[in-house]
Symmetry: C2
Subunit: 124 residues, 2 copies
């Protein structure tokens, strides 16, 4: 699979899990994983998924508008992904723009985990 | 220096060079470097800086509004940076929002080069 195909498959899986069952994101992170979520920073699967699961919206939907990917190392198979999209939540009438960067590491068998995750709303 | 300090120093240097002398960005890239600029992809210092230098605006100014950074590897010192900002160019009355992701690799002596570079305007 190409880097673009892996990025597309990962992001579709990620946002579907986020929008339907946030606790189901846990298998994508490891103890060394890092999340920057707006101005907060988290390390490790429990802290990261604990934060995501506790976000105070009931219904949320991510729509991807752009997904760019590049190999992030000459040989080790890691992948950098930057997603731009829109976020619709609860009864909010207008979607919000967001940007999220993922850095995926391979761990054999065609599987990847999230080493870096940086999320920002586009507010200006 | 912390990852955040390196990211701040790098991005200030990068955008100052971009806004004053785009050809001066060449020392930041290597032959293995990759640039995604909107829907176009470039590899190698000549192709990347050639594209940036040929962009059809005369005067441009980047203003950083958010700059998030994380170490992108457990041990090798590489750094992932996501920048959000505004771009003012030529006589355009309204600034445009942009997002740019840099992946920096160390090469000794406190120096870094850009391995990955993904640039997108935020248009929606």
């Amino acid at each position: 699979m190409s880097v673009d195909q892996i990025a597309k498959g990962f992001t579709e899986f990620y946002y579907n899990a986020f929008d339907t069952n946030r606790a189901g994101l846990a298998p994508l992170y490891r103890d060394m994983s890092m999340l920057t979520y707006e101005d907060k920073q988290f390390t490790g699967v429990q802290n990261i998924v604990g934060h995501l699961a506790a976000l105070p919206f009931q219904r949320i939907k991510h729509v991807i508008t752009k997904c760019d990917a590049q190999p992030s190392h000459p040989t080790n198979g890691s992948i950098l992904i930057t997603v731009m999209g829109q976020l619709q939540f609860d009864d909010s009438p207008a979607p919000m723009n967001f940007v999220q960067t993922f850095h995926l590491y391979p761990e054999g068998g065609g599987n990847y985990f999230v080493f870096n995750d940086i999320f920002r709303l586009v507010l200006h």
